[in-house]
Each structure stands twice: as C-alpha cells, then as structure tokens.
Symmetry: D2
C-alpha cells in the first residue's frame, strides 16, 4: 500500500472538492484525510488530502504527472505531492544554547519525529559534545562579519551535498542571509523567544521584564528577509508574575521554546503547513 | 441565496466525499465549508458540510427529499439538514445560581447567540427578577419528590407548546428524568462544575479542595440517564493553588462554567456537534 | 472585629518584616495575610499585609497616625491603609460595545464584586437601556473634538460629587486626557483588546489577523499618558487558527476582555495591586 | 555568605511571623524571601523563609540547634532547615519509556537543575544506552513477582550507599512497596499520565479516549500507599479533539508528563513543597 499527501491552493471556485475527490476516486485511491480552508478575504482555496492506494502498480511519479496535466494545470493550482515512505531530511543550526538541541535529539531518539537529522551546524564548537552523545555529525563553521559570506557558502555546500529538505534554527543566534533564504523559501524555521509580534529582535526576555507583562511566549516561524516577521507556525505562552527576574523569565521561556519549536518541526515534516501571503494555514 | 448545513455519519467506505460533493455540485450548490472525520476504531465516517444555493427555485424540503432518496438511503447514512434561516429555539432551566443565567442573557442581548430563547423554567422563584430585567418569560414550576412527575409533565407541555429545539440546564441542580431525556435525546445540555470524569456528582469543588488538585475545571455535556456521564461537548480549566479555599474555588469556577456552557450553546446551535457512541465529534 | 489591609513599599533594608510585624503585634493585631516582594534590580521592598483587631477600642484613624509617626516616617515608606468595612466606589465609562458592561453588571448583581458602582458615563446614549435594566444611574456626556475639554469637566464634577475611588474604561473608545489621569493616577483601568505590547492602538484584531498570530490576547492596565503603555494588571490569551476571520477574532476576544477586565476590577478593589516604575506588583 | 531555607508548620496562633522574623533579625540574618499560608480549615500555619548571613562565623548546625531550642520546641513547630550550599542527591527509577529520562538528563546537562543525579535504576536494561550517553551510572535490577522483595532490598542498599535524598519515578511502571515508601516518606515523586483524580491506575490514555474528554492532563505527586492518591505537586493539561486516536493522546501527553515531572523535581529540590494531611503547600 502506498500513501500520499496532497497540498493544494488556488483561486476559489465552485466544485473544487468534488473535482479533486473524483480524481482520487478514479485513480482508485481511498481518502483517509481531507481538510479544506477558504480564505474569503483573498478568495483562495486551500486543501490538504491524504489518500491510500492499494493497487500494486501505483506509481507516485505517474500520479503526479497525471495530477498536473489533468487537474492542476486546468485549474491553475499550486500543488505539492509527497509519498509517505520518503522521510524529509533536516539540518540543525545551533550556536551556544543547548536546551532546544537536547530536546530535539531526545525526541529524535525516542522515535517521536518522522524525519532524518542529517547533521548539525554551529558557529561555535561548544555543543559538539552533545552531537557526539547522540551520534549526529557536527560541523563547526565559524561566522564573523568578514567571513559570513564564505561561511554561508560552506553551509550551502553541506546542505546541497546532503540533499537537505528543511533547516531548523535551534537558537542559532545569527541572522540568516537572503542567499540561504532564497534557496530554502519557507523551509527555514526559527524559534523566537517571545510572543511575536511583541518584542522583535534581540533580548526579548529583558524587554518583557521591563514592560512588566504577565504572560511570556515563544513563536516558531518561517524565516524571511524581514527580521522576526515571517509566517508564524506555532506559538505558546506561560503565566509569569512580578516576582520573576529576567533569569526566571529565561528559565521559564526555555520550556516554551522547546515545545513550540518541536511542534513546528512536526507540523512541517508531516506536511501540514501551507504558506500564503506571509501567513500559514496549519492543518490538524 | 439559501444556505444549508448537512451532518452525516455512516459506516466508512471509499469515495463518500466524492459522492456527496458530486451530489451538491449537481444541485448547483457551492460548498463553503467541509470537514470530515473517520473514526478508524469504530469504522465510522462523519462529515459536516455547508453549502450555498443561489438558484431562486431552491427548496430545502425538496433538497432533503432528494438527498434521502438518492444518497442517504443508498449509503445507509444517518443525516440531518438545517436551513440557516431558521433559528433554533432554546429553553433555559435554572435554579438559584444566577451567574450562568446572567452570562447567557448578556450574550443573547449582545447579539452573540444565533438562536431564540423562548422562556426560562425554574424550580424556585429567586431568579425571576433577572428574567424580568431581560424581558424573557419566566415559569416557576416547583419540584418536590412527590410532584416531580407532574412538574416534568408541565415542563414537557411548555416545551411542546413553544416547539423547543434544545434545553440548557444552567446550573439547574435537579436530576432530569428519562421522560424528558427520551423526548430530547442529545438535546439537553448540562454544565457540570468539575473536570469530568473527576468529581462526578454533588459538591465537586469540595471534593477538589479535599484532593488538593492544582487545576480545576468545568464540563458541558449532553444529559443521558447515567449521571454526569453523557457525551462531553467542551471543557476548560484554570490553575489554583493551596491558598484557594472552597469559596475561592467556587468563585474561580464560575468563570469556567460560564464560558464552557456558552461554548456548548454556540456549538450546538450552530450544528457543529455530532454524537456517536456516547462521544462527540465537534467540528470547528 | 476590625480588619485592615496595609500596602507598603520602600527602599529595601534588613529587618523590615520583623519591624512591621512587631508593630502589628504590639497593637494586638493578628496577621491573617502577609506577602512580600523584593525587587532586587531596583532595591525596593513591597509588602501587603492583612490584620485583624478584636479590641473594641481599635480606631483605623489612630492606627494610621501611629503607623505614620512610629514606622513609615522613620523608614521612609510609601504606604496605604484600608479598612475592610469601607467599599471602594467605582465609575464605569462605556461607549457602544456592551459585552464588558453586561459582564460587570451581571457579576455585580451576583454579589461577586466587593465594591459599589456609583454610575455609568457614556459618550453615546446606546447602552442606557442596560443601565436601566440594572438600575444604575446613566449619564450621557457627548464628546466631540471641540467639546472634549468641557466633557471632561463634567465627568470630573460627577466623579467628585460621588466621591469616586476608581474608574473602569469598559471599552470606552476615547483617549482620556492628562487632566483626568492626574486626578486619578493609577486609578483608571483600561481593557485593551490585544496582548500588549503587541498591537498597540486602534483595531488590534485586524492587526492580529494580518500578522497571522496563533494566539490572541487581552490586557488590563492602568491608564497613563502614553497610549496603551501603562502598568499591566492582568493578561489572558486564547488559541486561534488560520480559519478565524477578523469577526471570529473579535468574537473570541470578547470573552478574554470580559475576564481580564473583571480580574483587574477585583484585584484593584481588593487592594492587591501596587504600582512602581510603570510596573505592577500583584499580590495573590 | 551563607544562605539557608527554613520550612515551618505548626498550629496557627498570633505573632508567629513576628516571632520568627525577630529570631532571624537577632541572628543578623537578612530575609530575602518570606511567604506564609494559613489553612483556616485545619488551623495550621505554614511558612517558607530564605535568609542570608554575612557574618563569617555563621554555622548552620549552631543555627539549627538554636532554632530548635529557642523557637521550635516552644511553639511546637515542625521544621526543616537547609543550607543552600548542599545540593540534594536524586535517584532516577525508569522502565522502558525514555521521554522523561531524556528530558531530565537534558535539563541536568544544561545546568537547569540544582541537584545531583547519583544513578539510574531500572527493571529493564533497555535504557542503559541513554544513561551511558549522559555518563550516569545505570543499575539493572530486574523485578518479578517472586523477586520483588529482594529487588527492593537491592534498591534500598543502593539508595543508602549513595545517601540519596529523594527518588524520581520517571514512568517506572512498577508499584513501589511500603518498605521503600516508609524510608522515603514524601520523598518519592511519581508522574501519572492523567489529570488525577480522573483515570487512576493503568492505561489512563485509553480511558480518556473512551470517555471522550476534550482535555488531557498529567500529574506529579508524592507516592503513598494508596495508588495514585498521594499529595499532588503539579498538574498540567492540553486540549485534544475527537480526531485524536489513543496513539495521538499518548504522543501529546508525553510533553505534559515531561514538564509536570520536571516542575516537581525543581520544586522539591528547591525545597518549595510542604506536605500536610495528604495535600501540598507549594511556595512560589
């Protein structure tokens, strides 16, 4: 049995659901998941569909070709089709903070993540010992103002060599340049340690302390050229009080960061996120 | 333009989505909402669909007849179809606690609820002044052990006379008998002041205090013959500490009760809840 | 028996707790609540204390005089002392949105609030029927650009005539001028319909929609001259999805606004909030 | 500088705070944290206090002796005093589930926990590779019905040999006997994968699925002889829907278990929890 996931968006019009589900039925697929969303303001139709095929001769490539010619081209759809037997390959970018890295690697070893972690890149050598503990290749690529360009070339070469599908910035602490972003559009996920759009930029916990907020948050989002302004994937929050020092906020925030980043990794790798006009549609 | 909502459940089989959406397309309907759920354990398919019809000659009754003969009977579906231009009629049962009543009537007057409150019934006269403030008819039907049977007959007569669609027990404090339940199956909604199934029965806040829980909750559910064991519609919780007295728990719980009951009223009246095997499917 | 509440803040130094609790003991008071907070960054000590006095001859005024001369002046304390038998008087400012007003008046009638609502002021006559339902005096004071100054004079006259302790802006939709703020410093509470500091200013739900946040919030804060930048009293949040329209966000946000404003009213009227350097200390 | 933490409970009476704070002042201590709680129903006073001593000659043992003779014996107090320079020693009991273990060891290596993990005990060898990765001694002590008694003797010998202060059951899956409990009263912490008291005993996620709850939870509690009925330390919850299978509930619950257990470890090791009459007082 083969299972595929289809993501579609196009201008809204009548009968799209019927058209697509008929197409699947004709190909002898059994739909096991279907959710759709209509953005009435922009007049855009979004759909996520999972279908199983029990016929032995089913070929994902043939299906894709057929889907394109018979359906997508006619209806002017943007679409992606994934076979469930191919795990996405992920690269981790880290710096000196280790809590998100421990969390991701723990989940990975527990079998919680349906993906492959190809390697870890860092601008500092500090976390190499963790990569070693978990038997993940670690590449130390230092970044300075002068070497940033070269460093990114090295990163890109590594990413290409390993055929990486998406990148996780697990508190990477460096601004990623447009060179990398253009190669991985909506495929680089960052964790920002505040409830965006509050406290954009550096030291959000210090800003939260100064403002005296009663709730702090964390936000995972796709990286775009505008700082901390990319499409939001997930957010979570926690209550704090006047008694929390900046250090306490940082400690409390670590748990948020871990969970919000892990959720984003799961949602993205399970192909549940679509991006349109700097916002996400996140299917359940 | 007419808008209808269709709720379906049946044994799962291939191509149901395609079959139903084709049917709608043939009737010249435009699907504006579709969500489905497959309960794999019980092998049951659930679907909620909203469709708009711009043809002037559209008749809900004809559509229903056609849906039944051409689709539902063939596929052995359980189904309900509602026209959006008909507001459901609701009756409120209260006793002496007033917070849920104030909340519901405030929301009603604010235009937040898409339904009609026909009347309020109570076994005590205490809250009549609130009904008067909001210009809702109030019926005082006392209930004692000896008169319970007669009292329910009076309630039923009132419900029938006003063609009531569903009943809200807004902290009614009386156990509703099977006579009423059988006339309104999955149409009587109760608010229980605990996080069910913890603390079934009377005085749940006292039990929560005694057990020293760190979170309290409230649960709205359909009333069945088993006490506090009917299908759960919504739940919510709030953090408490050792410093909360029983009185504090009760005060904190009032906000939960109000919100969880209001959510249930909205979900039910907007036809977003399906019941199967003592559990709910709640569409978004 | 008399019960008083004492709020203190001063430069931190050793033995303040011992000094204050000794003072109470000498006056034959029994401490029933004590909580303290030290802001180490600013080196400020905060304390809230409730004490009961069973001696018949106890006089709050004498106690205050004694507290000032023997304790507060020596230790250079800022302090406030309240007798629990005197309910604070509150004025409500509203405009056209009614949900917070219904909520507050429902709670008030339920006996949930330990305060007196003296009157409602509005720049529009729309909500007078609600004030009438709940038998609260309603004053329609129109505000236009040209009459804003006069209007505030009328408001101030009313506030003074009724000896108002604090003001609640229940979605008042007007910017309060420094004239009013200076008479009621940290005594005017506003509800802002976003998770501050995100989405300051007008139409925060529209901004939240545009940014595609996954959580929305509401914030109650003291009004200062800087727009939406005063000390935060309480905040709460709720999850939303891509499927929420602006209208849905507004509907969802109403519940947050109601609860966060009600919490602020309770905390302020129970003298649990202290303000220092544009932040609050909120005692439990 | 020395810092100590004092935990006290005794029958409530006037002037306890004054008496204790005077005692500290006389010893030249500076109180940096004080919180108290009066359980009015049981008439019990609880207090947690942190004090710093800058005098070089300060001795914790002398202070304890003095506290006992001058204060605690007179006022019939139960008390504990801890010097902050001595880290508590913790033992971890695990079985086959690895997520809590990864989480705790990640936090430990990140420097998040102010304690020493002496060793890991398991009735199965499966998780030894994790202990090895983190360089923590691992002891495989198999437990069968017949060998349970001997196994516990081995555990006790290990615990004694390492001078263990408290034990964490990180999904240990075995019922701990009264022998161990009596040696470590209120010092063995279990994580139960439900929102207690709902779903006591085995397979709570299956029960939650069957009941159709809309929120699931996790509970950390001290182990007593009554199954899953010991004093609750912390609880947390997460929303779920009808679409969650048992497997989904288990996956979602893992995050709750990790956080709720980690919180309990922090609260206990920082001496913020007091137990009285099967309930906890948890200081902030």
């Amino acid at each position: 049995m083969k299972k595929i996931t289809i993501l579609i968006h196009c201008k809204d019009r009548p009968n799209i659901v019927a058209t697509v589900t008929n197409f699947i039925a004709n190909k002898k697929g059994n739909i096991v998941y279907l959710d759709q969303h209509v953005d009435n303001q922009q007049d855009i139709f979004f759909m996520r569909l999972e279908s199983e095929f029990t016929n032995d001769e089913f070929s994902t490539d043939e299906f894709k070709a057929c889907f394109k010619s018979d359906l997508a081209d006619t209806l002017d759809m943007k679409w992606r089709i994934y076979a469930s037997d191919k795990k996405p390959k992920m690269a981790l970018f880290v710096s000196k903070y280790d809590h998100c890295l421990y969390d991701i690697l723990g989940r990975y070893n527990s079998g919680e993540l349906n993906l492959e972690i190809a390697f870890i890149v860092s601008n500092h050598p500090d976390l190499k010992h963790i990569a070693d503990r978990f038997d993940i290749p670690f590449h130390h690529i230092p970044v300075t103002k002068d070497t940033k360009n070269e460093a990114e070339d090295k990163q890109l070469a590594l990413l290409k060599a390993h055929d990486i599908d998406f990148i996780i910035l697990a508190r990477y602490m460096q601004i990623v340049s447009s060179k990398l972003i253009s190669v991985y559009p909506n495929k680089i996920i960052n964790i920002h340690h505040s409830f965006l759009p509050a406290f954009v930029g550096a030291k959000p916990y210090h800003s939260a302390y100064k403002r005296g907020v009663k709730i702090i948050g964390a936000t995972s989002h796709y990286v775009t050229e505008a700082l901390d302004a990319g499409p939001i994937i997930d957010q979570d929050v926690a209550r704090v009080t006047h008694a929390y020092t900046v250090k306490d906020l940082i400690a409390k925030g670590r748990d948020l960061e871990k969970i919000v980043l892990a959720n984003a990794i799961k949602l993205h790798s399970e192909r549940k996120v679509m991006v349109f006009n700097n916002k996400t549609v996140v299917f359940s």
